[in-house]
């Protein structure tokens, strides 16, 4: 499928840049060009497809569905999170709207985990770097982490840790006029442009670093680091990933290069989940509606679930 990119990369490195194919630099440049073309093509296609599907599930519709199925609201919220577009700056109104509709708090939290975590960028990058199976596994584990987190928070019943005004405001029933097919295409197109504008620079730099690792860092060096830190690599990836803003998920190509050199893949997945599900800017937003204690509990539960998911992933996919 990507032979054409291979030819383009070869043409540029060999015929235009005049590099010698037996050189390390040739290998690095070739890898960089090939990877850039491949990742951006797949990312564009996947962001477009996911955005198009998401245009069918606006937040209002998801709220309506959840309010009708309160008994299974937590798993349902985790699943609908995949299909509902969501930006963390809408977290406050989402919370108020869900509470108003009588949706359990655990379901609101499950949604808050899965919607940003299982997003078009993460899926696009994972698919481009590791293929369909890994991207699918990410979705399944992401939903599982959201359900577990939602379930535990529901058990804690943190009503007293949420600001009172959340329970007093009311959005009412919004009249949502359905989008036309053309509007959906337009929505998906705009989303592709919007996201690529925000993350391209991160991804290109990451591919650059990845290419360098690919060409110059010896496998033995990574292996010896992994042998000493191997088991701890998953929690380490989560600790590094949590404070980072979700745009930083763009650094996945660096991680891919490390995985090619022997870092276990669950580590990459855990990192991706941690950057997308939790971030400092999001904590600041959540502070408007909940006490810091609840944010800490939430971050703790989600982080632990992600670490467990990372380990399970390493076990299933063979390399610990």
């Amino acid at each position: 499928m990507f032979e054409i990119y291979d030819s383009i990369a070869t043409y540029i490195t060999k015929d235009i840049l005049n590099l010698n194919p037996s050189d390390k630099l040739y290998e690095v440049a070739h890898f960089f060009i090939y990877d850039t073309l491949k990742i951006f093509t797949l990312l564009t296609l996947i962001i477009f497809a996911v955005s198009f599907i998401r245009s069918y599930f606006p937040l209002e519709k998801t709220r309506k569905i959840l309010s009708k199925h309160k008994a299974i609201a937590i798993p349902l919220a985790a699943i609908l999170g995949i299909f509902t577009p969501f930006c963390s700056c809408s977290a406050v109104p989402m919370f108020i709207g869900f509470v108003e509709a009588g949706i359990p708090l655990g379901a609101a939290f499950a949604f808050l985990v899965s919607s940003p975590m299982v997003n078009e960028v993460a899926l696009g990058l994972l698919f481009a770097s590791f293929g369909f199976k890994i991207a699918l596994a990410y979705v399944v584990f992401g939903v599982a982490v959201a359900i577990i987190s939602g379930f535990f928070i529901e058990k804690l019943n943190p009503r007293h840790l949420i600001e009172d005004y959340v329970f007093e405001l009311s959005f009412g029933e919004a009249e949502e006029k359905p989008m036309t097919f053309k509007e959906r295409i337009e929505f998906a197109k705009n989303n592709v442009k919007d996201i690529l504008r925000k993350i391209s620079i991160y991804i290109i730099v990451a591919i650059g670093i990845g290419s360098f690792i690919h060409g110059y860092v010896p496998e033995e060096a990574i292996k010896s680091i992994m042998n000493s830190a191997g088991f701890l690599s998953v929690p380490l990836a989560v600790i590094i990933g949590v404070p980072l803003y979700s745009n930083s998920a763009g650094i996945l190509p660096v991680i891919q290069a490390l995985i090619d050199k022997g870092v276990p893949i669950g580590t990459a997945l855990a990192f991706m989940m941690a950057t997308t599900a939790l971030s400092f800017p999001e904590f600041v937003i959540l502070k408007q509606i909940m006490k810091p204690k609840l944010i800490a509990i939430f971050a703790g539960i989600v982080s632990v679930s992600i670490i467990i998911a990372g380990y399970l992933f390493n076990i299933i996919f063979g390399r610990v």
Binding site: P85, C89, V92, P93, I195, Q288
Partner: protein, 81 residues
Amino acid sequence: MKKIQIISASNCNNCELLYNVVSTIVKSKNIPAEVEKIIDVKELVKYKTMKTPVLVVDGKVKHVGTPIPAPQTIEELITQD
């Protein structure tokens, strides 16, 4: 004099972007309008939407949520009646 409001629940990149684009358009096209950014969920609630940011011109909702439309579309949204 038009009144253009950008309303959101939290200050985030998208709201900032919309505010900047609107301000630039108003300035460069000499549109007689006052541009205002409101970060208050209590204000947002009035427009019955959970999606942010909301673009309101003279009390009428013109756009809701992300992605933010292209500058050309935004110009149409704030100039048409």
